[in-house]
Symmetry: D2
Subunit: 113 residues, 4 copies
């Protein structure tokens, strides 16, 4: 049963990474097309890093890698930073992305524990 719990927790984390990655990619494109793109440079850079580490975390968990926890640990750090930066912008794509980054950070911290 603990294996099943482990599996369920991992699936939740994979889903959170996939949702976060999609939100980051979408939000990055949307930020580039906002009139105040100049104010969003830091945000865009974090979105790029966040999408890429979420993608790797999702792959490492799916393949049951020995290093999934270490990747999830870095992923949580980048997701937190990205959530904080996205949270500064009031448009819908940034607010939604901030939410999904926070959820992903929480799930990755559980996986890394």
């Amino acid at each position: 049963m603990s294996v099943m719990m482990h599996t369920a927790q991992r699936q939740t984390c994979i889903d959170a990474c996939n949702a976060c990655l999609q939100a980051c990619e979408h939000c990055l494109t949307a930020c580039l097309n906002e009139p105040d793109v100049q104010a969003r440079v830091r945000c865009i850079q974090l979105l790029r890093d966040c999408a890429d580490i979420c993608s790797l975390a999702s792959q490492f968990m799916s393949r049951d890698s020995s290093y999934a926890k270490q990747i999830c640990n870095v992923c949580a750090t980048i997701c937190d930073a990205c959530a904080a930066e996205c949270g500064k912008f009031k448009d819908e794509h940034c607010q939604k992305c901030a939410d999904l980054c926070k959820k992903c950070a929480d799930e990755c911290r559980k996986m890394a524990a």
Copy 2:
């Protein structure tokens, strides 16, 4: 409304790519641990390519790239080949992976059209 249909179709394809990518990563690890790994070399190579192209397709669609259709087109080709190869093995992970590869190929063909 056609935009909403487009968006729904894209989401279906992104979800199919994510499900296929996860199944391929999982199936690759499982194949490596089967007693007849030697018979699965071609399968393992296809699973590796399939996981990577699904990951890229998912990212290109999420970012609304001008090249999403071209990537989905290659993705459909690789998914078909991977489905055919996985379909040769009777274990649960290969059968499930073959199914998800077929679904992903179908969705990617719709996207590429």
Copy 3:
């Protein structure tokens, strides 16, 4: 000997992809920090796609994938578009990136042939 020529050509293409990928990642960060970032939105989107497809092409060639040619074919298309867009900007990072994109497109076309 034809195998050795093949190997040498592939190495040249892998190196061109790696150089192009690095230039694109660097140029993207540099473009984000230019005062006219607003004029570079299309360029930034192409740089993102170009970096990612170069990375995949490099991996597929390194692993001797059956699909390396198909990926190189898409890579050449994206590199050409990225070279054309970067070529519009006079700063050093865009000019250098345009050069490396053109070289990568040429090598990828040879590989895909």
Copy 4:
């Protein structure tokens, strides 16, 4: 001048990651085709993880990411493990890969410091 030293060190690390990634992808395909593939399962799993983290490290350094050091830190850990495993096999591809993994681990440790 310290900036130039920093840049030179980073380039050395990017080159080491690219060389390691190529060697890992090549070695993985070669291991799959060895008659004793069954004995190489752990090696193949590490090669897969090592190729992917080297790819991400190369991209994060190229884009001058705030998280390049953290990724390089994980990369050094995985490269060390992969070098140790590859070092157990006497064929040329594993010996060469072990060498390039060790060099990459060393460069990544310097970057992460």
